[in-house]
């Protein structure tokens, strides 16, 4: 058996797992592995800040379905990665984070660039490791990939002391993983699936409510067949957008805090809620006591047993991989002719929801093209026209994120990259860069705000260095827009530190070696956006929008879905 250094073992193990690109930043404690990396066929993307590396890996993972790989040094390198790791944990994103650590003899001595990253990331990783012996290294990386990518995916940190990277050991990559404490359930209980179909068949006003689990499981085709086959309307969480084609009339779009009136009213009136790979987050449910008050039955499909009955009572829990469970459910439904007779009743219910949607549609200002100032809705329309809807959109966090979620019709899964659970400003630009590495042939747009973009603007340097073809749209209102909106509505218009000066984004892009555009009037929008989209390489587009534009409707914080504000 050939003998390799720990550093070489890391590289060979990553290759054995099918990794093709690493997002990282070198430093003292990880230098042995960087040295080995130079001789390998792995691509490496040098980021400007380790947080950027983690979000790039997240974008890569969300688009490809495979774990994203991050490599950082000890101490500040690792702690800079923590926000991205926590983000990946909240949004069930598989990451492998290899961090250098000070030598084993120095651990615990407050050595230079030492941080207890295993301790720091324990509550925000699916699992983590400190590898103290080179003999354990290959097995640990094998386990890390298995844990990150299976079950409910999540980030795994592998912390490797410098001397372990330098130690030499015979290398053979293990073929199997043996973890007696970790065995995710794949197949759902057939009895529960039967019960769920019984309950659906009996219901008068059933509603699908689907989340990010559908996309991670690759279950969008099964979901689409089941929903269309039954003719039951469907609403998606922020992380679930794209699981079902938005152009299908059964698709009601996003529910929750910024869900439309029709969609949230459907949730308030359903008698059978079928939750699929969603976790009843507070931004979805609002005041939990008043969530789905008429639901006699709540069915919950999820791979993570701890997500079930955590926030709401669940009548029919089904633990399993969404794809496998939906396949089994499809079989049960197809074998049952009686269920076809329910279509008429369900169609009536669907029509009722569509009537609610017409009653109070999202953003009735259809005349925005005639106004001088650019409206965000107009920007989204033009984005859709120019891309024909076929693009990946990475967003940051705030008003622009909610406008995209409300208005951009996602037809395919893995098309919206956004920080849902943690709500991390600064996610969008690096996530978009990572997405482009996973899908070089797809158009990648980043939609950001003037606040968010400044959180990780330095990654523009990365985009330029690797000539990443992404178009970054900044909806610029010279405010932290969502903060301003809350201050306007809930803090008596007292705008406490939400106004922000911004750089000249065109000059900034130029300084980085990218192209910049600025749009101030609605009549410039279509033409300039077209030119910007046609410009190769990284492009920044600064679009000035009025600060008064608000994300509507909204559930007041702590309020219920039935208490939505419309102005």
């Amino acid at each position: 058996m050939k003998k390799l250094s720990g550093a070489q073992i890391i590289i060979e193990s990553l290759i054995a797992e099918g990794a093709d690109v690493i997002f990282g930043y070198p430093g003292g404690a990880i230098l042995p592995t960087y040295d080995a990396l130079l001789d390998s066929k792995l691509r490496h993307v040098l980021v400007r800040h380790e947080q950027g590396a983690t979000h790039m890996a997240e974008g890569y993972a969300r688009v490809s379905g495979r774990p994203g790989v991050v490599m950082v040094t000890s101490g500040p390198g690792a702690t800079n990665a923590v926000t991205g790791i926590a983000d990946a944990f909240m949004d069930s994103t598989p990451l492998i984070v290899i961090s250098g650590q000070v030598g084993t003899q120095l651990i615990g001595n407050d050595a230079f660039q030492e941080a207890d990253i295993v301790g720091i990331t324990r509550p925000c990783t699916k699992h983590n490791y400190l590898v103290k012996n080179v003999a354990d290294l290959a097995r640990t990386i094998k386990e890390a990939f298995y844990i990150a990518g299976s079950g409910r995916p999540g980030p795994v940190v592998v912390d490797v002391p410098k001397d372990v990277q330098q130690a030499v050991h015979p290398f053979s990559y293990p073929e199997r993983v043996e973890l007696r404490g970790y065995k995710p359930t794949i197949r759902g209980n057939p009895r529960q699936i039967e019960r769920a179909v019984d309950a659906i068949e009996k219901s008068e006003r059933p509603l699908f409510y689907v989340g990010g689990g559908v996309q991670w499981s690759g279950a969008a085709p099964e979901l689409t067949r089941l929903v269309r086959g039954l003719g039951i309307p469907i609403t998606e969480t922020l992380m679930g957008l794209g699981s079902f084609p938005a152009s299908d009339p059964l698709c009601l779009g996003m529910l929750g805090m910024h869900g439309s009136y029709g969609t949230n009213t459907a949730v308030c009136n359903t008698d059978c809620l079928i939750a699929v790979g969603a976790r009843f987050d507070d931004r979805v449910t609002g005041r939990i006591a008043d969530f789905a008050p008429k639901a006699e039955t709540i069915i919950h499909l999820d791979i993570d047993p701890s997500s079930i009955a955590k926030n709401v009572r669940v009548d029919i829990p089904i633990v399993g991989d969404i794809k496998a469970v939906l396949q089994d459910m499809l079989e049960v439904v197809q074998a049952r002719e009686s269920i076809g007779q329910r279509r008429a009743a369900w169609s009536e219910w669907h029509q009722q929801i569509l009537a609610w949607k017409r009653e109070k549609p999202l953003y009735q200002n259809g005349n925005h093209r005639e106004r001088d100032a650019v409206s965000p809705m107009h920007v989204i329309e033009e984005m859709h026209t120019l891309t024909k809807g076929d693009c990946i959109i990475a967003t940051d966090v705030g008003q622009h994120q909610m406008w995209i979620a409300q208005l951009f019709p996602f037809e395919r899964p893995r098309s919206l990259l956004t920080s849902g659970g943690l709500g991390t400003m600064g996610y969008g630009l690096p996530a978009g860069i990572g997405a482009k590495f996973a899908a070089p042939d797809r158009k990648v747009l980043v939609v950001s705000g003037d606040g968010s973009i400044q959180m990780n603007i330095q990654e523009l340097g990365t985009a330029v260095q690797y000539n990443v073809d992404i178009k970054v749209i900044i909806l610029n209102n010279y405010y932290l827009g969502m903060v301003r909106q809350w201050q306007e509505k809930f803090y008596a218009e007292r705008y406490s530190y939400s106004a922000m000066s911004v750089p000249n984004f065109v000059k900034l892009a130029d300084a980085y070696g990218a192209r910049g555009f600025r749009i101030e009037k609605s009549k410039e929008l279509a033409g300039t956006l077209k030119e910007a989209f046609a410009t190769p390489g990284p492009v920044l587009i600064d679009i000035v929008i009025p600060k008064e534009e608000a994300v509507m409707p909204m559930m007041p914080p702590g309020g219920a879905m039935s208490e939505m504000l419309f102005a």
């Binding site: 295993v118 301790g119 324990r122 509550p123 699916k126 699992h127 400190l130 844990i147 973890l179 007696r180 404490g181 970790y182 065995k183 993570d304 047993p305 701890s306 079930i308 009955a309 955590k310």
Partner: protein, 174 residues
């Protein structure tokens, strides 16, 4: 809120207690008592016995969250199960000539042992369930307690479970 005893079989490796304890603190679960021991027969595993309190929903979440930890092999929740449970306590009690015989009687009745004797104090070892230990403390308090050390609870399901209608069976999950 009712107390529950949960026995957690874990991989015997570094950091595993921090994972379990960290889960309780980060999710706001309560730990009333905790014991940890390497399994005397299988050295690759350790057993953590935790007494926690909460309603059924909290208990269910504790079980599920513990099971989610990669290093947790098995969680046994003793709710609704007849168990043998024990705690060990060392109590240093002040003694004078006039109280010595009273203490002797209490020690005898509780089947406790005197394990250390000094001119003004005796240290007594008591084992038993929580109620017995509480009773012992109440009886020796008037004599003057100088120091108490007490372990957490360890528990084991009884081999023969009484037949009770609707009794919840021993809930085990891997």
């Amino acid at each position: 809120m009712p107390s529950h005893t949960i026995s957690v079989l874990v991989e015997n490796e570094f950091g595993v207690l921090a994972r379990v304890a960290g889960l309780f603190s980060s999710r706001g679960f309560n730990i009333e008592s905790l014991t940890v021991n390497e399994d005397p027969i299988d050295g690759t595993v350790s057993r953590i016995v935790i007494v926690s309190s909460g309603d059924d929903q909290v208990l269910e979440q504790i079980n599920k969250q513990l099971n989610k930890l990669v290093t947790v092999i098995k969680v046994t929740d003793f709710q609704g199960v007849e168990t043998v449970d024990r705690e060990l306590m060392l109590v240093k009690i002040a003694v004078e000539d006039r109280t010595r015989s009273e203490l002797d009687a209490i020690v005898k009745t509780f089947r406790a042992h005197v394990v250390d004797i000094g001119p003004r104090a005796q240290t007594v070892e008591v084992t038993g369930d929580s109620a017995k230990l509480r009773a012992f403390i109440a009886l020796v308090r008037p004599l003057g307690i100088k120091e108490i050390v007490r372990t957490g609870k360890i528990a084991m399901a009884r081999t023969v479970q009484p037949e009770v209608a609707n009794q919840r069976s021993l809930r085990e999950s891997a």
